[in-house]
Symmetry: none
Subunit: 210 residues, 4 copies
DNA sequence: TATGAATGAGCATTCATTCAT
DNA sequence: AATGAATGAATGCTCATTCAT
C-alpha cells in the first residue's frame, strides 16, 4: 500500500477523498508530533515505533521509507489546507475580506494542526525528486492563492513584481509563528489574526499618514 | 584551545574583539555554509573535514564538539550583528528612521553573511544548556532592540502587548527571506528593504485609508 | 530486548530462572572470554562481533551498551555462583566443613567458568551507577556468606573486626588464582582446595605450635 | 632521553642508582596516581598532561611512549621494593622472623606507595616484549624471595611443590589489599600485618589443634 | 498485518603519536 | 626542554531498512 502512490501501483492517492485508515492516521499524527518537535532528520523511525506501539518493521507496511512517511504527512495536511484556502479565495466579497479570511484560516489551521503544519512549513527540503515536486506543486498553488488576494488588495496584476515580495512577507509573518507562539500568552488566535491583517493592510502607522 | 570559552578558562570569548585565527575563521565559514545548506544535524563533521581539507580528528583542536562548532558560529555572527544594531538603535533621528535602519542593516548583513545568519536563525534549538542560554541572551537583546524601535513608531511602551506581536511579525518577514531569496531575482536588497519598511509602516493600503 | 532489565520494562531479569537464549548465551561467553583475556576496556565491541560472527550493529539487539554486556555477564555468573554458595552455607555440618565446601565450590566454579568469574572478579569497577550497585549487592552477599563461615570457625561474631580481614585474606588467595593458575601445572583443583583450606585453618606451622 | 634505556643508548637505566629528575619524578607519580585509579588503558596521555601541567607533546621528552611511561613507573617502584626485600631476606634471625618482615615491609611499602605498587601489581600485562620481560624478571626475584622464606618456615626445599602454592596464597592476600583497604577502617598497617602473619603461620584454628 | 532478528553504512569523538619550531 | 598543531586509526553507538515467518 503505502499511500501517496508515488509508485503508481494503485489509485488511492488523491488525499482529499481517500479515507485514511485509523492506524495510519495515528502513525501520521504521532510522527508529525515528533518531527515538529525534533525535526525530520532527528526523528528516528524507532522513535515513531515507540510512540505508536508498533514494532519497528511493522510500520513499513504503512509507508515505504522514512521519506515516504514525511511525504504522506505533508500531502495529507497541505492538500487539506489548500482545499480550505482555495475555497476561501473563490468566495465573493471584497479583496480585503478575502485576504483577511486567508490569514485567519491559516492561523486557525495552525491552531488545530500545529505539528503537521510545522512539518509542511519546514521540511519540504527533506523530500526529494518526485515527492519534493508533488508537494512543491501544492505549495505553489497555496502561494498563488495568497498572491492573488494581495494583488487584488493592491489593485495590481498578480505578476507585478512587488506582489511577490509582499506575499512572501506575509508568509514570513505567518510561518514564523511556529517559532514563538505560546498558547498561554498569545491566544486567542482571532485577535492575532486581526493584528496581523491590520499590520498588513495599514502598517504600523495605521493609515494615519502615507 | 576550542574558543568560545564556555568553560571560563580564558578571557578570549568576547567575540567582537578577539582576533579569530584565520584557520578557525575558515572552519567556521565552511561549516556555516554546509549547515546553512543541509541543516546542522545533517552536516557531518566529515563533511566539514572534506570541505576544509582538515583531517577528521584534526578539527577537534579548534572546537570541542560539533555543538561547540555551532555555538562558535552563532556567537561570532550574532554578537557582530548585535553590535551593529545596538549602535543603530542608539542613533539620533526619528523612530521611523531607526526602524528603517534596523531593517536595512539586517538585510545587508544577510546579504554578506547569508550562511552564518541562516544558521543563527534556524539552529538555536540545536544548542543545549549553557550554549543555548548564551545565544538566547543575544537573541533577546536583538529582539529588544527591534521592539523598542517598533514601540517608538507606534508611540507605545515597549511592554505594550501589541508591540511584541508586531515585532515578531517583522522578524518573520526578515527571517523567512532565507526560504526564498534569490539574488538573481530579488536584488538589490535596498529595494527589498524599502518594500518591507513600506509594508511595515503603511501596509498594503499604503496609508490611503484606515 | 537487551536482557538484564535495568530499565524495568520486563520481568525476565532474575537470571537464575530465565532461560537465556542460546545466541545470547554464546555472546556472553565469547565476550567473557575476550574480556577475561584483554580486560573490559580493551575489548572492543568489534572484537566480540568478529569472534561471534555477528555484525557490529546486530549485537545491539542483545544488549544496549558495552557496559550492559558486561553487566549481563556478571549478573548471570555471579548470581549462579551465589546460589550455589548460599546453599552450601546453609548446609548442616561443622563450620569447618562449611568453609571447606565454600572454598572448594569457588575453585570448582573457577575451573568451569574461569573467564566469567575473572570478569566478575576484576571488572566490577567498570560498571557504573545502577549496574554497579546491583552487582555490588551480590558481591556483598557473597562476602557475607564466607564471612559467616569464617566467624563460625573462629567462634566469633561475624561483626568481630578480625573476621573481616581474615575473610578478605581468603578472598585474596582465591581471587589471585586468576593471575597464576595453569591447568597443566596446578591441577587437580581438589588438591589446591585442600592446600588452601589447610593453610587457612592451620597455617604454615600446621597447628604444630601457636 | 626517555629513561629506562630499553633502546640501549645510555647507561642510566639501573633505576636504583640513577637520580630521577624532579620533573620526571612528578610525571611518574602523577601517572601512577591516574593509572592506579582508572587503570592503564583508561588513563590517557592527555589526562597526565592535564594533571601535570605539561603540554601533550612536551611529555614525550620524558618517555617515548605510553607503555614506556608505565615501564618507568614499574621499574622504579619494583626495583626499589625488591632492594628492600632482598635485604630483609638476607638478614639473620629465624625463618618466621624473616617471613614476618617480608610481609610487614610489603604492607609498609603499600602504605607509602599505594599507587605505584598497585600499578606494578595489576598492570604487568600491559607491558610487552622486552619491557614485559624486564619487569617479569623483577617479579620472579620477588616471588623467589618470599618463596624461600616460606620454604624455610615449612622446613621444605624451595622447589617442593607445596611451597609454590602457599607462596602464591600469601601474595594473593597481600595483593588483594588494593581492592579493599580503607585507611579509615583498616589502619594501622602493623596490626594488619600481624593478623596476616598470624593467619599464615597458625591459621584460623590458631594452632589450637591440627 | 505485524514482528523479531539482523545488517551495513555512517557518525561523533578520543587517542597515541609526530613534528616543525 | 617544551609547545601548538595535526594526523590516522580505532571506538561505541545509531539508524533506516530488509526479510523470513
Amino acid at each position: 500500500m503505502t499511500t501517496g502512490d508515488l509508485t503508481g501501483t494503485g489509485a488511492s492517492s488523491g488525499g482529499r477523498t481517500s479515507r485514511t485508515a485509523p492506524k495510519l492516521e495515528k502513525l501520521l499524527s504521532s510522527s508529525a508530533g515528533l518531527m515538529a518537535q525534533r525535526g525530520f532528520s532527528q526523528t528516528s523511525i524507532r522513535d515513531v515505533a515507540n510512540e505508536t506501539g508498533f514494532s519497528l518493521g511493522g510500520m513499513y507496511y504503512y509507508f515505504k521509507s522514512k521519506e515516504d512517511l514525511l511525504y504522506l504527512i505533508q500531502e495529507k495536511t497541505f492538500s487539506s489546507l489548500l482545499e480550505i484556502q482555495e475555497a476561501a479565495a473563490s468566495h465573493d466579497g471584497t479583496a480585503e475580506e478575502r485576504l483577511r479570511k486567508l490569514i485567519g484560516n491559516h492561523l486557525a489551521y495552525f491552531l488545530s494542526h500545529a505539528n503537521e503544519l510545522k512539518v509542511c512549513t519546514f521540511e519540504l527540503e527533506s523530500l526529494q525528486d518526485e515527492r519534493y515536486d508533488r508537494i512543491a506543486v501544492l505549495r505553489r498553488r497555496y502561494f498563488s492563492c495568497m498572491a492573488h488576494a494581495v494583488a487584488e488588495v493592491l489593485g495590481e496584476s498578480p505578476n507585478h513584481p512587488g506582489v511577490r515580495h509582499k506575499t512572501l512577507f506575509i508568509f514570513g509573518m505567518l510561518n514564523w509563528i511556529f517559532m514563538w507562539f505560546d498558547p498561554e500568552r498569545d491566544e486567542p488566535v482571532d485577535r492575532l489574526g486581526d493584528e496581523m491583517v491590520d499590520l498588513v493592510l495599514n502598517g504600523l502607522n495605521g493609515g494615519k499618514d502615507g
